[in-house]
């Protein structure tokens, strides 16, 4: 287990632009974010000796930026890969494999410049044999499949699912960089175009271009950097299945539960200690599954918890304060943006800053409930 607060985020930045960036290919989005993160902490490529990324190879990113790494991590388990990179980097730094790690993300999700595509797996893969033939066509028709079961199990009306998007839009309205800022109502969500019943357009994440990068180093060096250090307090990761049809239970994510429990145990904190929460929201049901798997709500109670405005501006558990994948931005692997918002909140510089926040939990999903990673940050040194 990584010691509490032994590793800190000292550099953090997103791409210069966010949203529609036709003038940058995918690898340049990684590089733009990396250059911004290096500028944020006053480091040069020659100061970096560890590189982790997903979507591109860490070899490609290191060479593109002129870095000679002694440690690389190409863990690629979907949108939460960056949570796992933080976890792995903390262990690598603490064990002396490297001193300063750069984690990058960049994705030309909207403009598709130099980007790969979602293929549904080779026809001989498990997904290619047992899911793709049934007409799955990307995340909106896959990630959404468990939800009718969840709604029936707990007797949750569709309005309460729609409301997740409404509350997150309230947060987005406070964020100048959010893609969608205009207020919406439950009625607006339920009147938006049907994508895959019961999911309508406003219950689905945006598709945008962007990137982000983090720089981590040992806590003993962290005070030498210009920004307030953000310490790693605990981390977790897990995986379940590449086939959504083979999840243990459509009412809950095992990967969420295992990853979250590991991070909370490692951090040694109680739920009441959490000031700020990020839950990767590719679709409106993910905050529900996340709140329940992380233990903030009992099974089936998260929709009411959000309905009662606990996670809204002014509530006791501010959730997805950047507006989330539903309203802020979503390039494809959104986990990096959740991490960036947690770091901003811990630095005290978020557009919708939670006053006095000391502990932030950042929880990610990879694939369609396939994998999960959790990082718990604090701004209080040991």
């Amino acid at each position: 287990m990584v010691q509490h607060r032994s590793v800190a985020v000292v550099g953090a930045a997103e791409t210069t632009g966010l949203g529609i960036i036709p003038g940058m290919s995918q690898i340049m989005l990684h590089a733009d974010a990396a250059l911004n993160a290096m500028a944020d902490c006053g480091l040069k490529p020659s100061d970096i000796d560890g590189v982790a990324t997903a979507g591109e190879s860490p070899v490609a990113i290191a060479h593109y930026l002129g870095i000679t790494p002694t440690w690389t991590d190409g863990t690629s388990v979907g949108g939460c890969s960056f949570m796992l990179h933080v976890r792995h980097a903390a262990a690598a730094i603490e064990s002396g494999l490297c001193k300063t790690v750069l984690i990058t993300h960049g994705e030309s999700g909207k403009s598709r410049v130099g980007a790969g595509g979602w293929g549904g797996g080779s026809p001989a893969s498990l997904q290619g044999q047992f899911e793709t033939p049934y007409g799955i066509a990307g995340p909106p028709s896959i990630f959404t499949i468990p939800v009718l079961r969840y709604l029936k199990t707990y007797g949750i009306p569709i309005e309460k699912l729609a409301n997740v998007a409404v509350v997150q839009r309230e947060w987005a309205a406070k964020n100048p960089r959010a893609t969608m800022k205009d207020p919406i109502t439950v009625a607006d969500v339920l009147a938006s175009r049907m994508i895959a019943y019961p999911f309508r357009l406003l219950m689905c994440c945006l598709v945008t271009d962007g990137g982000g990068a983090l720089i981590l180093t040992g806590a003993e060096r962290a005070k030498d950097f210009p920004r307030k250090p953000v310490y790693i307090l605990g981390t977790g990761e897990s995986s379940e299945t590449p086939l959504i049809s083979q999840m243990d239970d459509f009412n809950a994510s095992r990967a969420f539960r295992v990853s979250g429990a590991k991070a909370f145990a490692e951090a040694g904190i109680a739920h009441a200690d959490v000031d700020h929460l990020m839950i990767y929201d590719a679709f409106a049901h993910l905050p529900l599954y996340g709140l329940e798997a992380l233990g903030f709500c009992k099974p089936g109670e998260a929709a009411d918890y959000i309905w009662e405005r606990n996670t809204a501006p002014g509530g006791n558990l501010p959730l997805n304060t950047n507006g989330g994948g539903l309203s802020y931005m979503h390039s494809g692997m959104y986990g990096m943006y959740a991490l960036q918002e947690s770091v901003r909140q811990m630095r005290g510089i978020a557009p919708a800053q939670v006053p006095g926040a000391k502990i932030s939990v950042c929880h990610g999903v990879g694939g369609m409930f396939a994998a999960s990673g959790t990082v718990i940050f604090t701004n209080e040194p040991a």
Partner: protein, 136 residues
């Protein structure tokens, strides 16, 4: 040519028996001889206990509708709207499928309704297991 057909599976050594079964109109699953666990998708060992002592059997082809979406977006070989469903088989495992021979509407697709298997011949080599409501 293939652009308007659904994307067909390509069997592997581990799944060939499953696809040989569907071609003959049978849903073949595996049961662990050591712990009696019934599982899907096919593999030559038990995912519950790791025993390699497993045996094929022909399942009933009966189940219930566990969850689904009705996709409104295009996919090769499909005309929207169409259901993408997960069926809970009477023998225990769940599998993805399409619910056919009924309107593709929330009113016709009721969770937990009984369904039964039908096979759609995609080409000379592959028959795909689909499900339809059990008419009472």
């Amino acid at each position: 040519m293939t652009a308007h057909k659904r994307r067909a599976p390509v069997p592997t050594p581990e799944t060939a028996e499953f696809w040989a079964g569907t071609k003959k109109g049978e849903l073949r699953l595996q049961r662990c001889t050591a712990c009696a666990h019934v599982y899907f998708p096919a593999r030559p060992f038990c995912p519950a206990c790791a025993s390699r002592d497993v045996a094929w059997f022909t399942a009933s082809g009966k189940g219930t509708l566990y969850s689904y979406v009705i996709n409104e977006r295009p996919a090769p070989g499909f005309t929207a709207p169409y259901s993408i469903a997960v069926v809970a088989l009477d023998e225990g495992p769940r599998m993805m499928t399409n619910i056919v021979e009924c309107p593709q509407t929330p009113e016709a697709l009721v969770l937990d309704m009984p369904v039964e298997i039908v096979f759609e011949q995609l080409d000379d080599t592959i028959a795909l297991p689909l499900f339809r409501p059990v008419v009472r």
